[in-house]
Amino acid sequence: MSQLFQRNRPVIAAYLLVIVLAIIGEIVASGFLKVSNIDQLIIEAAFIALVALGQTFVILVGGIDLSIPWVLNGAAVLLTTFAHGTNIKMAWLIPVLLAGGGMVGLINGLGVTLLKVPPIIMTLGMSSVVEGALLLYTKGGSGGNAPSGDVYLATHRWGPMPVVALVWVAVLAAATVSLSRTPFGRRLYATGLSKRVSEFAGVNTGLVTASVYVISGVGAALTGIVLAGYVGQSYLGMGDPYLFSSVAAVAIGGASILGGSGNYVGTTAGALVLALLAAILPTLGLPQSALEIVYGCVILVAISVSSGQIGKRRESS
């Protein structure tokens, strides 16, 4: 039990931070913890958590995915422009867009594994390619309104719970099981800890690495589809905040940026922390732009703390 506690200390710290921030929120603005407000917080956090799913997996193998914002944006814009406000095409559009996101991820993954392009360069380049293609397609205009079916999916409630939050819980369960209870999860951590040793042990690290980028691409496309429904429309630049927030959520969740340690339970706490911060800032009279400053500071603090702990662990062993 104490070993479990020891190993998950960063994750536990992240959840304590969630509680502390919630209390601070209630102190600076009474009514902060109203049901309607919490509902809103959970929806905001769900979007960050959904997009950070892929980023978690990618960071666990020691990579990074900078193409997330434009894959998300691409899925949102293509859904609204192709659907033209009707629901008829949704049935095939959604799978096609998810596959499209997966394709971008696959190209990233192949570039990183087969062609040995550093992840940051590969995903930065692909981000620009997707952005350019999208700008050419839309001619710089907005994507139009989301079909009502998508709006329904994104804002519907199942009992008291928003569907988006339920999707998040399902994703959390699936990610946690696949990371901690399956051979894929074990290979993923092994690849992140040491590629060479994993290969000696018979792990196909190329396959593992390529698949996490595919997961990230599909996750970004899914988030784009749901986000378009939630906002009711799509526009260029709607994915931009999700680069910093996805990395920040993973970093707060205690994952090592070097790969090999961390989990999605931590990222979930990270998403909650970011949503709480986003809600608290306006009550302190700070502008929305302060959020970007907060994201940056939070990333720096989180990685400094986690690298300090890794250092200590190495010293003690």
């Binding site: 350019g132 940056g296 720096l300």
Partner: protein, 344 residues
Amino acid sequence: MIGQLGSPLRAGDSTAGARGVLDDLLTHARGADIRPLAAWMLAIVFYLIYAALQPGMLTIDSLGTLAADGLPLATLALGQGIVILTAGIDLSVGGVMSLGTAIAATHFHGTGSGLAWTAVVLLIGLGVGAFNGVLIGALGLQPFIVTLATWSIFDGIALIVLPTAGGHVPEGFAGWITDNTAGFPNAIWALVVITILWLWFRRTKVARRIYAFGSDREGARMAGVSATRTLLAAYMLSGFCAAVASLFYAMQITGGDPAAGDGLILPSVAAVVIGGTSLFGGQGGFVGTIAGVLTLTTLGNVIFAVNLSSYWTVLADGLLLILAVLAGGGLHGLQQRFSGGRRS
């Protein structure tokens, strides 16, 4: 004749002549990296295509316009290149660029305030660089995550200084980049000065440490090169270059944009990589990077000249970055294989 310059050839080799030429070229190429040369060839090809599409491009004035277009990127890529020589990357140049143009567009009016705020912008650049350098050098944190965070922070500050694109810089300030001095466009003078500064810097102790650190971290440490101080210097130079680049960029767009830097991070890395600098550190330099800047700038102009949407530039820049990484690795591999084969 050529064969004599190269290595002695085995008797009875039927392709001796051809092999001799190849051998000889490789003998000369073995010491020097061939990637910057390839970059210059690519840049000249692009420029000739552009000149063919737009007659009258081979004049001093049009070269001046091209230099003015490329000057912000060249300055930015000089700093990015120094960081990449340490096998790092600096994403925070995006934030510094955004904040620099935002300050130029809002605070440069009034007597004396232009100079004072220029100093502030330059100090911000140095400060961001020092901050990155300490975290990366002294604490050993990953360059991309540290500079991603500082990019976010300074984009946020830029948004507070200037919430939306707009504002305008004083006319005298904006006009400098297109003016002439002693018959030559100022932008060309600036590029010449930057290049001379680089050639001087290349011979300094700091530069030698940066190259040594980038090519063999452990070996450099044994030879007494301090990782902390080397990285601090590299990131401070990059921050300073980004600050200067933001001022050139503000002249070019005659205003400010709180997101100006976001779109220039990729071109800054691409210019360095196209220019033949290795992402793994220790190899390359600004002479190749200028060819990368020239390639990217003329590519944008070619796209404009053939009436394609400027959005093609965004797509093409991304593709070029990836292709350049692959081509650079490929060229280097070929060179190693041939020169390695010769030695045995």
